[in-house]
């Protein structure tokens, strides 16, 4: 596979097998968390300088973003399935996988709290399309959580 830039994903993706596409995006999710774990000042992925060559080689921009803002900066990307879809289970997976990696790297935050914070950062996004997609996807994600809670409560009755 030829080396490609993160910004070129939409061009590269149609030519990839589903296996490769999933593998590459899963690896991106992992490397994003890994990067933050190594560099606490890492605030945002530099799309132009980050490239895939059997694994992601990510470059970042320095800043003072906390873990919530950094998470949002990553998860807002369409590459991590932040697009519109009737029931966007791919986005749910991005969120779950990202959070799993946070835990594995010992970045311990409460999941509910994390979701609320990244949703708040979404409301501040100046890109209207990304913001709209993210807020709708988060709404669906929170709906899933709520239904799970309600089912658990019904089972406890």
């Amino acid at each position: 596979m030829k080396q490609f830039n993160l910004n070129e994903w939409h061009i590269v993706r149609p030519g990839l097998s589903k296996f490769d596409a999933t593998k590459i995006i899963n690896n991106l999710t992992y490397e994003m968390v890994c990067l933050r774990n190594k560099n606490k000042t890492c605030s945002k992925i530099n799309l132009d300088k980050s490239y895939y060559d059997n694994k992601w080689n990510l470059e970042f921009e320095d800043g003072d973003a906390n873990i919530f803002e950094y998470s949002y900066e990553c998860l807002r990307m369409p590459q991590l399935h932040n697009y519109q879809m009737p029931e966007n289970f791919n986005f749910f997976k991005s969120l779950d996988l990202f959070f799993r990696h946070l835990k594995e790297f010992g970045i311990l935050v409460d999941k509910q709290d994390w979701i609320e914070h990244i949703a708040w950062y979404a409301t501040k996004d100046t890109d209207q399309k990304i913001k709209k997609n993210f807020l709708e996807n988060i709404r669906q994600y929170k709906e899933r959580t709520k239904i799970m809670q309600e089912i658990t409560e019904l089972l406890d009755v």
Binding site: G15, K18, F19, D20, N26, T29, F89, F99, R100, M148
Partner: protein, 497 residues
Amino acid sequence: MPKSITLIAVPRTSIYMPSPALSVLKASLQHHGHVCNTVDMNIELYNCSKENNLDEYNELDNYFQADLRYLKQTDFPVSELLDKSKSLSTKTFEYYQTYLINLTESVLSRKDDWIGISILSVNSILPAIDLCKTIKNISPTQKIVLGGPGVSTFGIRGKSNFGEFMIEQKLATTYIQGEGENALAKVLEGETKPIVAEQIENLDDYPFPDYSDFDFTKYDNKNNIVAITGSRGCVRNCTFCDIKSAWKHFRYRSGKNIADEIVNHFTKYGSTEFHFTDSLINGSLKAFGEFLDSMIEAKEKGLIDDSVKWQGQFICRPKHQFPEQWYARMKQAGAGQLHIGIESGSESVLKDMGKPLKRSDIDFMMNMLLKYEIQCDMLMIIGYPTETKVDFDDTLQMINDYKIYNDAGVISGINLGKTMVVLPGSPIGLDKGHWGIDYDENDNWISTKNPSLNYQERVSRRIQAQKVCEDLGYTIRWPLTTLKTIKSGLEKKSETI
């Protein structure tokens, strides 16, 4: 004398590819000298809703998925079913009614002799009722024929199938149970009674499906996906599955014929992604081997290129039956994604299901999929009648163990389902005594042989499995609609609607 028909595929089908039923029937009716137009209502509704009416579409999408397999078989007011659309919010109901009227008027303006409704599954029952009601309101004498698996896979209020019910309600003229290629031509040529179609013996004799009516740009995919039917029926007899009630015998096309069809669609429509509708693509190893060889040959001759990928339902076989060479050939032949009925992580449950596999067989398969870079979706059944707590823990353990395959891109998703359903036409449904199947006061199935596995316990396990999958970062298929149905059942303390 040639007759004409408009065939309509009602939701809920795929938004990624055209309805295969319409293209198959169009080709065969043309072969019989008739005129056939097609309308994919599923994609038309999606496209006209997705920009400005997504909320209404989402509500409708959920409404279509009311799981009528749980419908009480005893008497209940017919209006509960016929007027179920009134349970929609006012805004969505009005949007839906306007859509149905516009569609009906457009179809009626063609003045075809017949309207045919293709009912793919239980998730097509409500839109079929709603569309037929609209057609009959506008044109009471319009002749309507129903067909598709959804017509005959379950009965309502003592009627043996949905088609009978619709005739009784004067919402349909007739129906076809089984394969429609020859039967639909008979209806157009004057057959007035419902047809229970004989199974077609030689599938190679029929023309390739005709997609000329379809605009592939309307579908949410750039690969111009086309469905392929390589076989009908199943060689297996899994205890939970009712496929044998729909297809008595297993028949399959020659591998060469299937590869020729793929070449045809690749050349004519630029299709590079093919979805098999077969119960199992590797049900017959002989047929599957022939298909792989024909695809490899077509590639070598330059008739198709490496962009051509196919996917389908696949059964895990023991390592000695399906060694590594098979996976290598599959990769060479364009295997992209497999939908695999893993069902359970418990060897004991798998044996009871009629799938006597060792966990090591499944592990071997996953390793091979990783090595040859073939993706899979895992299909699971939670709460099989003999599943104990220990068995269920084996399933959770397997999901945990397969995290590596999920991360590596092998597992594209996991379908946890809505817990085990005792289908009337399945071996368990047909021999309830053997499995100790009985029903509690709310019509939920229980097994006298595994009494702790009641409805609540099944749901509880389902929720545990969901939590484990979420924690591990699996893609869980259709989480919202599935969970909504489970919750709605729990509120009523009943799986039945």
